[in-house]
Assembly symmetry: C2
């Protein structure tokens, strides 16, 4: 009874095709790289951030105008902008007390395109 026996082992994982498991294990990218990839997509996995990025796709905007466009309060938008900034998806410039945000590069556009491709079919 392998199941019962294995319950006290380090790991009760069963393997059916050891060859495939070995092959795929070798082909998998580094753990850290996959972690970073998930972290990146996590940024896109929030409606507020998607809306902000989508707005910046159309125009550079200041914080309060973004808030007005989305119908959200300034604080919520500011918090999310911080996350987008940390992920290097947006950049900003200051003009007096106004801070203008814009897309950091065109990766956002490409990622959006692929996303839309999937949901539109």
């Amino acid at each position: 009874m392998r199941g019962e026996f294995n319950k006290n082992e380090i790991c009760e994982i069963t393997v059916i095709h050891a060859d495939i498991v070995d092959k795929v294990k070798k082909l998998m990218p580094e753990e850290e790289k996959l972690y970073d990839l998930a972290e990146l997509f996590k940024i896109f996995g929030d409606t507020t951030r998607i809306k902000i990025l989508c707005a910046l796709l159309k125009s550079e905007m200041c914080v309060c105008d973004i808030a007005a466009t989305l119908g959200m309060n300034q604080s919520a938008v500011s918090h999310q902008l911080r996350i987008l900034k940390q992920s290097k998806l947006v950049k900003y410039r200051k003009d007096g007390k106004v801070v203008y945000y814009s897309l950091a590069d065109d990766h956002v556009i490409k990622i959006f395109e692929q996303g839309f491709n999937h949901i539109e079919e």
Copy 2:
């Protein structure tokens, strides 16, 4: 003192560039589309699911082999496969009691590519 006044209003959002806000509002995709886009990226925003997809990128695999490859228990993998299945990112076929999963189409590859492009610079 507009700030204090507005605290009792429906909405205290300030607008600096009304023209830009109006323009961007018109150009924004439908709310529902953006929601769906965020939902899609949310799927990619989890390390376990990223690893599963990455494994399936290399080979069709059964549930327990995926679990063995990732060093996770069968239940956790099965739960995540259900989510991937619902999002139509993976498909499956049954052979006796074994269920084999594979990528539904090549959208996953494209989305991965764009993601890696961003983190690798």
